[in-house]
Amino acid sequence: MGATLVVALFSFTAQAAMVWSPVPVEKGHGGHDRRAGKSYLLENGDGANLHLISPKLESKEISAISGRVSVKPMGMDNYHALVAIRNIDHRHESAIRYVYMFGKPSKESPSRLMGYEKSALEIEPAPYAREHWRYYSSTDAQFIIRFKGEVIAGAEVIMQTSNGTRSTFTSDAEGRLTVPLPEDFSDVKAGRRANRAAEFMLTTEREDGADIYITSFSAGYHVNPNHWQSTELALAVVAGGMLLGGLITWRSRRRKEK
């Protein structure tokens, strides 16, 4: 049931790019990478070679059953990369997704895994939303577009979300890409747990002689908490705390002077 749902989420993908998405595990939990859903679906991925790469860059072959893989930790914590590669004639496709797994401390920086060349054309999160952080609507996500180790200026990247938004962005002269995550959740409820995470997918293409390269990056994003968190109210409460502090100081002075 969950699997069909995710297939349906991206079935509008015009280019039918190969893309990873999580298999929702239980009702009420969004696609929170680190805990839920260690099963992933590879859409449009027939014939692709699948690997899981550890924070220490060790690679393990994995296999899919009906496009679905179940990944197990490789004995260490931190982000791992799910990589699908398919080369048919002159068409070179890849799909990459980062998955947090628990285990012994890897003592590795995720920047090593993110920066490591996993496919010729790659959308590298720079940085990825780190632990205690997530991708949120109405915030900017940053990436670098790389082709064979070089950053690519002016690369066109299409963003699609499972909430139905579709936009195109272009990388700057340094190959940096800023993607404003859209505020496209309907029926927002108060509280992070009350809202399901949505998925966003980035795809880009590059021609190199007779070869064509296509890559996708996908991740979950959440409703921005500012829907139920107020800074204005907070300022008023801080001011209240300050008044209380003044009152406590004044009263203790009075008592001492008496």
């Binding site: 940085p127 509280g191 968190q229 907070a234 209380l244």
Partner: protein
């Protein structure tokens, strides 16, 4: 007295550098936690500050109790691998802690430094200072740090993981932690200054957090280190203080009985350093700031030592110069309201 000889000035410089490093350090050491120093740092450097170089030991502890141990226990599972992350976190904390002991508080904590800076601003504004807290009040406040550690860092997260209390209490100390608000604001983020209206529990916790932050802003102007007195890390440090390599020692003499300048100088109001006849006077509330050594007028009676090597030993000449420097810095204090009325 030349500033480079003044221990308090040296400490302020170290605190400022530590503040810059811990609050903005990811600019130098990279964005991800594994790039950082430890992920279990012994001061309130905050994981919610997007630029932090490292974060405090309390957040992994709360998460390990609340997200891993609690749920596993409630599912009837228990294995050594479940407590391994807690042991790893405590081990990392201890390796660092042994090196500097409680001096982490007095020399490196961003929140400790912030409170001291506010105190200095209060002095410059000529606000009348609450020099020492009443002993009875102090005795009532002192156990609070243990409650903060026991309840907010261990029990509530565990109970939340076991399903006895709501998920709001999964990391309750972080929810009310003033360093979260301070360091994220310092890093230019407004996202930690909020009232959360998504549930009653979150609302109460966010009101508590913001009120506490407001209280600290004002109380620190006239009172020394108001938050430190109830900080759960002060309690956690106290548990392990005997294994730390930095020591605070006293060679009691009968002259101490009539003096008591050390206790007066102590920002944590530890009166026991004056009355104690023990050699080891590193009490649970100490932050190893070294002021007591600076303000002891008797040669060799008080000392900060690294294992056995003296770092700072009390000395009458230093005391005289340090006192003069202090008076110069404080300037003339505004007479209190009552004194004004009487004159």
């Amino acid at each position: 007295m030349p500033v480079w000889k003044n221990l308090s000035v040296i400490r302020k410089v170290v605190q400022l550098l530590a503040f810059l490093f811990l609050v903005y350090g990811s600019v130098f050491v990279g964005f991800y936690s594994a790039d950082k120093l430890s992920g279990a740092f012994p001061v309130l450097a905050c994981a919610y500050d997007a630029k932090t170089a490292d974060y405090c030991v309390l957040i992994p502890l709360q998460h390990q109790f609340g997200h891993r141990l609690g749920p596993a226990l409630s599912a009837g599972m228990f294995s050594f691998s479940l407590i391994l992350p807690i042991l790893t976190t405590l081990g990392t904390f201890l390796i660092l802690f042994v090196v500097l002991n409680k001096a982490f508080c007095g020399w490196l904590c961003p929140l400790g430094f912030f409170q001291e800076v506010l105190g200095m601003i209060g002095q410059k504004l000529r606000l009348k200072r609450t020099e020492s807290l009443d002993p009875e009040l102090l005795d009532r406040i002192r156990p609070a740090k243990w409650l903060m550690l026991g309840l907010l860092v261990v029990l509530f997260p565990l109970a939340s993981g076991l399903g006895f209390v709501g998920s709001e209490l999964g990391d309750p100390f972080c929810k009310i932690c003033p360093s979260r608000i301070l360091t994220s604001l310092a890093a230019g983020q407004l996202n930690q200054l909020y009232i959360d209206t998504s549930s009653l529990g979150y609302m109460i916790l966010s009101i508590l957090a913001d009120t506490l932050f407001g209280l600290i802003l004002v109380l620190s102007l006239t009172m020394r280190q108001p938050f430190c007195r109830i900080c759960p890390l002060l309690a956690m440090h106290a548990l392990f203080r005997k294994v730390g390599l930095v020591k605070l020692v006293k060679n009691y003499t009968s002259r101490c009985d009539k003096c008591g300048l050390c206790a007066k100088a102590c920002p944590m109001d530890i009166r026991e350093i004056h009355t104690s006849k023990e050699k080891d006077i590193l009490f649970p509330d100490c932050t190893l700031c070294g002021r007591c050594v600076e303000f002891c007028p008797d040669k060799g009676v008080m000392a900060l030592k690294y294992v056995v090597i003296p770092i700072k030993v009390s000395d009458p000449q230093y005391f005289k110069e340090r006192n003069r420097a202090q008076k110069k810095w404080e300037g003339k204090q505004k007479p209190s309201r009552r004194v004004k009325k009487a004159s």
